[in-house]
């Protein structure tokens, strides 16, 4: 059954309302005036500062081994814990798996749709990170698990220094027109609200705590 209007009728009305388009306004091709972060700055430091300012917990390590050790340390510090660790390309993934198993941390079945709802930790990689805004970008698709960075109370993201881009403009430029994932999310702080009397509460629906481990040699 046809609901709503036909595409033709819908667009005919819009075109009619644009009979007088007015003096042409050109679409600016150069948006560099909006660049806040140049490529020259120390991206790792800027990224970590910005992430820290909004309540995420960035830490810097020198190599994969140290990154895995840090993850194990964070998870075990929380006591008996469970974690979801998607089979995506996470830096130091094999080392992390070994480390967590060694400490008796329960690794959830990634093929269980509800696993992330029950896990204490979600451990993921990122597709990139943005220094300007201290953001992590996580993509959907393939072996990725959308809820691993969302439904868990603690998210640990592993970021390689070379994944950090300076500016939102750089992020936009690297999004592929043809091969864009079904979902890309920029995570720029722990889940939060100030709906009740403007008082900040963290961990509304998404993670209350976001750890970021930056691997920079």
């Amino acid at each position: 059954m046809m609901r709503g209007q036909t595409r033709e009728a819908f667009f005919a009305r819009i075109r009619e309302s644009l009979t007088d388009r007015g003096a042409p306004v050109e679409l600016p091709s150069d948006l560099e005036v909006a660049r806040v972060t140049a490529s020259g700055v120390d991206l790792v430091t800027l990224f970590m500062d910005r992430a820290q300012q909004v309540g995420m917990r960035p830490e810097r390590v020198v190599d994969d081994r140290a990154a895995a050790a840090k993850v194990v340390e964070i998870v075990t510090a929380a006591g008996r814990a469970s974690a979801i660790l998607p089979e995506e390309d996470i830096p130091a993934r094999a080392l992390i798996v070994d480390g967590l198993k060694g400490k008796g941390v329960r690794l959830m079945d990634v093929n269980d749709r509800d696993a992330a709802f029950d896990a204490d930790f979600g451990i993921t990689g990122v597709s990139c990170a943005i220094a300007e805004t201290g953001s992590l970008c996580v993509d959907s698709g393939g072996t990725h698990r959308r809820l691993a960075s969302l439904a868990v109370p603690h998210h640990i993201a592993l970021v390689r220094a070379e994944q950090i881009v300076p500016d939102l403009l750089d992020f936009a430029a690297r999004v592929s027109k043809d091969d864009i994932p079904a979902n890309m999310t920029l995570i720029s702080a722990p889940s939060k609200t100030a709906d009740i009397e403007m008082i900040l509460v963290e961990g509304v629906h998404g993670p209350k705590v976001v750890h970021i481990i930056v691997i920079a040699s």
Partner: protein, 482 residues
Amino acid sequence: MSGQTTQSHEFHPDFKKAAAAALADVRIGATFDRATRLNFDKRRAIMPELGRPMAIRELAARIKDHTLQNLDRYLEQLVENVRKHGGQVHFAETGQQANEIITGIARDVGASLIVKSKSMVSEEIELNQEIEKTGIEVVETDLGEYILQLAGEKPSHIVTPVIHKTKEDIAALFRDKLGIEYTVDPEALTAAARKVLRAKFKAADMGIIGANFAVAETGTICIVTNEGNGRFCSSRPRVVVCLMGIEKVVPRMKDLGIFLKLLGKSATGQRLTCYTSLITGPKRPGDFDGPEEFHLVLLDRGRSRILAGEYRSVLRCIRCGACLNACPVYRRIGGHAYESVYPGPIGKLITPLLASLEEYPDLPTASSLCGACLDACPVRIDIPTYLLHMRNELVEQGRMPWTWRIGFKFWRIGMSSAFLYRCGLKFGRMFMWLLSKDGWLKWLPMDGSGWTDHRDFPLPAKKPFRARWADLQKQLDAEEGR
């Protein structure tokens, strides 16, 4: 502006009455003043981080103007690209059509529970009420909107919808509706809502989202939320429906970058809202999770009419709420007095434009034209000038009281000659002396009472400034021996 009334039921907005009632409630003024100032200050603190914020705001305005001017082209491109990625697109001229489309999808897919993230457009068309009529449960998942849904109330701010409620209000509401122990601790209240809503996210078979932006060149819908509910609504359910006003489209991904730089900062003083999701169609073959169906509902509902007229650039609005937070009128009377989905300065324009000026004749006059809204607007919508245009329309429609019409006729004559202007001043001074008492002007007749009801005026100086200036000049000349 021709009338396309939006409310199905009998509804006669009376701004003056509603504003008077709001002013009489001191709690409203105090609550809104505090909340709006907080976000106002946060916005002002963070904007300089953009380096050249004004240049970026003007760039954003230009991108929007270009897009609106070619809206047909960019919408066509958006439709093509959403379809290319496997999404379905629906077209609604009216709110009723959009409701039919969405309830239709819900029935087609056999939905029994719908989770919804915040969408102002859905408020416009009263989508929830229509869904509920079909017997399907729909749950708002933004904490503020959830509180409103439980209370059966409407938002009072487009970004922070529940700022009119105190934590005591919410504590009582949650005790009554969720059966939890009375607590005014925001952490505990949020945790209670989280628990209920988590179960809903898990069980929902359909999600409804709005759109902050839509990128034509990729077919991507962008939504931002701080709580993560938008991510849940667009990731977990089997079917996702996005309801979007046609003005939300931007041409390129890089344009989106510009608007993201502005939106969070303007709305809540955040560099970027916690979660910015770019959604492009349903899950891809081989993806483990994500919706199997993605529907985009494009809604016109009067927007093409705005596009055709002199108010086109009102459609630049990105709904950040910065003008609400800056507005001295909004701060005093709050959001509900406007009796519209969109309150505050931008609401004074959008509301009559989407409905009709006949229905909301008082809104354009509810402004001192101080310009704080223009100053705050990230896309530089010249709200004060547009309000003047609307007032002009009201005059042309003969909707101004006769006292004003005569008064302003005299004003015009007086202002057109220096002699008459001086005569007018003299006459005005005499008039004020006649009505004064103990050196104060305490009462003015007719519409003048609006000025004197709440304050007394000191009488004008016995010797007017012009005369003193002339004397001073003489004195100076004498001293300098000229």
